[in-house]
């Protein structure tokens, strides 16, 4: 062992700076991870592919490896092999090894995307997946623009726009490839419109606004972060089977220029032109055509103040009043599901946190291993230069093996960590998805509350009529004013009944949406998590194998020092 095979190009770089040293020492690994086609026949000491010449005397295994590699390449759709035999040379005999699976899987990040629901959000630069209807979105090219309309002062209102490029085969769109420019405000509008139109659905949550926008805006980093967040958001929308077909999204992606999504709950204008009909109805004023579509929106601030008060009163009654509210959430199955999801949310948050710690710990160990390696590199250089005795040279050679291995291992840890992050990111995503779920559940509650409020309203209206009729009947010949009042009330009741029917329909619709979405979530979650687990495990196994082969080599080389019977 003490003789030491020269790794020619590595030695030549031995006296480079530590940074160079690290990058140069690892050229073997680099080559292997990007050009997997050639088995490593050239370097007996290279440890990049586990089945490449670890034990040089075993020619059979060497011959086995090229074919197994090719066998593996043809199986790119199913990169996760199941080992069919074990031996002490597992990592040589098991073709393909997980080490290879790792490098294949994450080169283009498409293995995880073969699942139906994700196939639409592939990278624009890669060729579209073979699914028939795809909707592929990318966000790029942030540019600063001036808001000319409002800038009375020079350099007034600047904002950033992003280029939204879409490639699609969906028939809804005019064309298969097009771009528009949008600013963040447009995204907020899109998100709001979707919340209104798709109540009860698990709508992906949009990226946060940033309060200190104008100041932070200048920073390159913030803009880039936002770009990434927007892209993720739009891709999630595109992945939702219902929302991807929505008008709102289509208009957003397609229509250049001003975003044609009108707010139909414009607070100020509604207050101003008194176009609020329903509250007036509830007030008991003159009857007009009821815009029942207003009933199908939850009460919002401003325009629906009165309605808001009434619903609030109702919900207090529900909570504190002794009597049962007229209609209740009776769907036991739903309530069970809801509770389970709350539990799930908690656990996922916990796992997500621990996953972060795990990733950090992996990163740290890799870093320290690298530092150790570099320290030994320096020591090797020192001993070699200062060597007076042969034993020093021998020691320097041993040390160099260890240094090289440590630096390689450090590199592997770094890659492992990057991949692990990609997998465990699914956990964070589902945490985010829970927000959408909670929003959908709250859509349901508020729709129910509207129904309950209208029902209460109706019963109090009936009560008033009864009282009036009773009072009126006591007067001989009738009480003209009272009778008029009764007629008005009866009109109000009719209108309220219509509103009630509408509200009930809406509530049922939302319930149905909830149900379908829950099914979809369950299925997707099942698939996503399995893929995540598999990916994580394959990743860990693959990198562990590679590290084992790195260290096996050093252990072999230093075998001569081993104590007898160790």
């Amino acid at each position: 062992m003490m003789g030491y095979e020269n790794q020619g190009h590595e030695e030549a770089h031995l006296y480079a700076t530590p940074e160079e040293m690290e990058s140069l020492v690892l050229t073997d690994n680099d080559d292997s991870s990007h050009h997997q086609s050639q088995p490593n026949h050239h370097h007996p000491l290279s440890s990049s592919l586990p089945f490449a010449a670890q034990i040089p005397t075993d020619d059979d295994h060497l011959l086995a490896s090229p074919s197994s590699l090719m066998h593996f390449q043809s199986q790119s759709q199913n990169p996760i092999p199941i080992p069919n035999h074990s031996s002490s040379f597992k990592f040589i005999l098991e073709p393909p090894s997980y080490a290879d699976a790792v490098f294949r899987s994450f080169d283009g990040d498409h293995i995880n995307e073969t699942n139906g629901h994700d196939s639409s959000s592939g990278d624009l630069s890669s060729s579209p997946p073979s699914t028939v209807e795809y909707l592929s979105i990318s966000v790029s090219d942030p540019q600063k623009e001036q808001d000319l309309a409002n800038s009375l002062v020079s350099g007034g209102n600047t904002y950033v726009t992003y280029l939204i490029t879409t490639r699609t085969s969906l028939p809804d769109f005019n064309g298969s490839e097009f771009s528009v420019r949008r600013r963040f405000k447009d995204v907020v509008t899109l998100s709001d419109r979707l919340s209104e139109s798709y109540r009860g659905f698990f709508i992906p949550i949009r990226p946060d606004k940033n309060v200190v926008e104008s100041q932070v805006m200048q920073k390159q980093e913030f803009v880039e972060q936002r770009r990434v967040a927007l892209e993720k958001y739009l891709r999630r929308l595109a992945a939702h089977p219902v929302i991807r077909r929505s008008d709102e999204l289509r208009l957003f992606l397609e229509v250049d220029g001003r975003l044609p999504l009108v707010r139909n709950t414009d607070v100020a204008s509604r207050m101003l032109d008194g176009a609020v009909k329903l509250p007036r109805q509830l007030f008991g004023e003159s009857v007009g055509a009821v815009d029942v579509s207003e009933v199908v929106q939850p009460a919002k601030g401003g325009r629906d103040l009165l309605r808001l008060f009434k619903e609030l009163k109702q919900s207090v009654t529900n909570d504190w009043g002794g009597a049962k509210p007229p209609v209740m959430e009776e769907d036991k199955e739903f309530l069970e599901k809801k509770e389970k999801l709350q539990d799930f949310e908690q656990q996922i948050s916990n796992v997500s946190q621990q996953a972060e710690s795990l990733v950090k710990a992996q990163q740290d160990i890799g870093e320290t291993m690298g530092q150790l390696g570099l320290a030994f590199v320096k020591l090797t250089k020192f001993e070699t230069e200062e060597a007076v005795y042969e034993t020093q040279r021998v020691r320097a050679a041993d040390m160099k093996s260890v240094a090289t291995a440590a630096v390689k291992a450090s590199r592997l840890y770094r890659e492992l960590t990057a991949q692990t992050v990609k997998h465990l990111d699914k956990l964070h995503e589902y945490l985010g998805a829970m927000l959408a779920v909670n929003q959908a559940f709250s859509d349901r509650s508020s729709a129910l509350l509207t129904v309950q409020t209208l029902l209460s309203e109706l019963s109090s209206l009936h009560l008033r009529i009864e009282k009036l009729e009773a009072a009126s009947s006591k007067i001989f010949g009738g009480d003209r004013s009272r009778i008029r009042k009764i007629d008005e009330l009866k009109e109000t009741i009719r209108a309220t009944e219509d509103a009630k029917s509408c509200a009930i329909r809406e509530y049922e619709r939302i319930k149905e949406n909830n149900k379908n979405e829950l099914e979809r979530l369950d299925k997707e979650r099942h698939d996503d998590f399995f893929n995540m687990l598999k990916g994580f495990v394959v990743n860990q196994a693959g990198y562990a194998e590679k590290m084992a082969s790195v260290w096996d080599m050093v252990a072999e080389e230093t075998n001569g020092y081993a104590k007898d019977g160790s």
Binding site: Q354, K360, A361, L372, L379, Y389, A541, A548
Partner: protein, 400 residues
Amino acid sequence: MQQRSFSGVSQSPRSPSKQPPYLAVSVTDPAKMGNGVQAYISYKVITKTNLPEYQGLEKIVIRRYSDFVWLRDRLFEKYKGIFIPPLPEKSTVEKFRFTAEFIEMRRQALDIFVNRIASHHELQQSEDLRIFLQADEQTMERARSQESGIFKKKPADLMQIFKDVQSRVSDVVLGKEKPVEELNPDFEKLKRYVFELEDHLAEAQKHAYRLVKRHRELGQSLSDFGRAVKLLGACEGEALGKAFAELGAKSEMLSVKLQKEAQHLLMNFEEPLKDYVRAVHSVKGTIAERAAAFRQHCELAETIKLKEIDLNKLRLTRSERTADAEHEYEELKADGEEARRRFETIVRLMNEEMVRFQEEKTLDMGLAFHEFAKGQSRLANGIADAWRSLLPKLEACSSS
């Protein structure tokens, strides 16, 4: 003293049997003695030998850390020029003094210490070693307390010598040569080598220690992660729940492996590196002794020259003090001769010691590297196996 090697080749004519001479020592069975602040650890030192100087074939004595320190100090005094094997440090952190980990590390280091002495061809013949290995506790205690007087060099003195050596090295390097210093280029080179080596080794050892910690941290994270995953599995459906449970279990299992490996790394890789650093300190000590001996030799030589001049003056004047002066002069010359001889012995010994030292370190580090690589390989293989074994189960679960 006759040179004795334990290769089994030479035999003393006085050895009772035809067996080759052997001296095997082990330090075992640490036990906590005493209470509170006074508490300390005692060790069993077992000597097996057929050497005639020793009483019988086997002897067991009880020793504590300060006994080992006594031995080291005595050897340092008596065998100038030889790199005395290093001792593990005195524990500065009270908290760790009685942890199992610390005690085991110290025991191991003490065992290595005594064995190195026992296998060194000069040191093994030391009287002090025999006392250490055989004397009863009272004798040992007496010997130990006598030490604190004359022979024990205070750490401060040693530091000063190191500083002197260091500043002289840099002076010479910078070209500001001072007269009372060896102008031996090989020796200069050696000094520079030793000082720089220490820096490099200290850095490597620091990272090795951190690596141990990182293993522990990763183990802890995996354990926490496993637990959290199991909880998540509990609120998931059949197949997925099972998959999470398996993942969690594997994570916890691997956490244990990591803790074990951390311990192995500490004992078999980080500790040898620390030992190497200590050994370099010992070399520095010898360098200091050499410098001191050289200075003494030079100073005496100066003094002798001056004395000679005085003496000649006296001879010319035929003073009655001449006889005394002659006598003093002769004495001084004897001293000077002694000092020169001492110095030259140190130089000779050091040269031999350097060869031995480099050999020893190559073997020590070779073994440490081997253990390091073996440990990492074992860990990585264990991790790969564990995750690999999970995959078929995952496949089964996902298709159901």
